[in-house]
Symmetry: C2
Subunit: 345 residues, 2 copies
């Protein structure tokens, strides 16, 4: 794995995006897409709608330019997102290995919605020794990493889908309904349906352009947010039943037994974490998922003015200021008490 290094993104593009008016991808990124061929587009493990939609859209746009692309992820596309046009093109790393897929001709690596190779899980596979000719990074997460020959990492931007929108535009590719639907999904997922602080007028403007190009807000929202199984709904009711509130910190948990009783899996808990923020007095919501005996995975969510990344870091985790995660080895009661001590007040 070649890991080119380069400084943080061109200042002019950062400024353009931060002032919320228009996105201007770095010229070297645009040249990279125009002048190269064979793109291996990889996204982070446990992919979400932003990663999947952004990668599908970028792949489609490049294919329309006559380029060859491969979409890859450690994990398969979650059921919730199989509706995304082109998502059937995703290969898992296991698929690539077991089917002996030749990836040598996809010699340009593109990371989407993550900014270091570690986030893809690629390095832990037999593919790790693959040599790429060049690498580009398109992401909106905070990062200390310098991975990538070309980096376009703009943390204030709501979604990787915004950046891909600007790239599609800069490449001169006509916005089609499938590209628009992928990007609209990316925006919906990473802005919590236009609810998070990252929802700027520019996000809404781009959403409007995408809807104009054929993305259907109702259908996409129904597919992304309103396609719960009855089991998932029953699980949700059980999880809400565990709610405790102390000092503005709401804690809920899910056990392996609850999954069994409702025929569900951890995938079914997406967005459970933030639900308790619906309450005015709740500033932090913690969702605890039992992974094994005294082994828990935590999702921390907070209102804009509270930073939970700090506490996730205490447990060896990380994420964003208002959305972080970590794991903990402890019994549940002690863990909850510790969390209230760390987060409360």
């Amino acid at each position: 794995m070649r890991s080119g290094k380069r400084d943080i993104p061109a200042k002019n593009s950062e400024v353009a995006l931060t002032d919320g008016k228009s996105g201007l991808p770095p010229q070297d990124l645009i040249d990279f897409f125009k002048n190269s061929d064979g793109f291996f587009i990889a996204i982070h493990l446990s992919p979400d709608g932003d990663a999947l939609g952004s990668a599908c859209a970028l792949g489609m746009a490049l294919e329309k330019m006559g380029k060859r692309t491969m979409l890859a992820c450690r994990d398969s596309v979650p059921q919730q997102y199989v509706f995304l046009p082109g998502s059937e093109r995703f290969l898992t790393f296991s698929d690539i290995i077991s089917r002996n897929v030749d990836i040598k001709s996809y010699k340009n690596l593109v990371l989407v919605d993550c900014n270091e190779i570690k986030r893809t899980g690629f390095e832990k596979t037999e593919l790790a020794s693959t040599k790429f000719a060049a690498s580009a990074v398109i992401d909106h997460h905070e990062s200390d990493s310098l991975f990538g020959d070309i980096r376009w990492v703009v943390p204030p931007v709501a979604a990787a889908g915004m950046l891909v929108y600007y790239i599609v535009d800069a490449l001169g590719v006509t916005m089609t309904e499938p590209i628009a639907s992928n990007l609209y999904t990316a925006l919906v997922v990473d802005t919590g349906n236009f609810r998070y602080p990252s929802t700027t007028s520019e996000v809404l403007r781009v959403a409007s352009v995408l809807a104009d190009a054929g993305a259907n807000p109702y259908n996409i929202n129904r597919a992304v947010n309103e396609s719960w199984s009855e089991g998932r709904f029953r699980l949700f009711v059980k999880v809400l039943g565990t709610l405790s509130i102390n000092d503005g910190v709401a804690i809920t948990h899910v056990t392996r037994k609850m999954f069994d009783e409702t025929g569900t899996s951890p995938d079914d808990t997406e967005n459970f974490a933030s639900f308790a923020l619906t309450m005015k007095e709740v500033k932090v919501a913690v969702f605890i998922r039992e992974v094994g005996d005294n082994h828990y995975k935590l999702s921390l969510r907070s209102v804009r003015e509270v930073n939970v990344e700090r506490v996730a870091a205490l447990y060896g985790g990380g994420g964003h200021k208002n959305a972080s995660g970590c794991v903990a080895q402890s019994d549940l009661a002690t863990l909850k008490a510790d969390l209230i001590k760390q987060l409360g007040g």
Copy 2:
């Protein structure tokens, strides 16, 4: 009460709105606002964010033109919406009567977010004999009514707030942050936060313009949708515990006892009705609220392709295709069985 009659709105404005591009209010409506003074702006009883935000915004725009306006409603502004700029100007009909407020100089009646005087509750008060010089109607609900000298009733439009946005624009009033926040709230409330089928590219474009003018999507969403009391949240958990699903029909109910146990009131059940539509297999969600012994109020919500207005009408109620209401006198078990029969399959 003078009840001028006039035909349905000018076709050109309807077409302009239906094709989702731009709104063109009828010229007589614009002339009415420009050439008259003293506007009595009334909204429907049990006001929601669209009615309140639209009326506040219209009132502000007219005041900026040097016009005198009065905002009136049968009911006081719900706690959830007191954050709306200018909402403190609302008078209830009881306020007007008890304080002997002179409304004679507000001789131009404007109905917002409703299209017949009946929906305001005005006619059941001592004020009913008030004579207005002229009346205008600005609404997006289906209607057989011919009430109003000037009617701008455009059912396909997502919110009355959209219509008021076009009016403010046509009046040449500069969009200010308070006007924008009121209108953004109207859009958020009546599109279910950009989730309903009425969410067009045009709605998103207007939302973007409003955010550009200072409306804050995060703050507004937090105020409208994420300011639940803990009691309301506990009530929600209890209501979810009553869920039954038959033939794609999800039914939940709330009893007076549950309100007592959680220190809540019927106001706290807003949006409970549609929550079960989160499930993929659920096409209709019915929320039953106990009003008295064997006396229930029903809210019916459905996915786009199912019409619940038909069933609400069987019970003497009405509303929209996908959101209707009615009352029923029955015991709960019989009522639920009847509903499944009427709505299922």
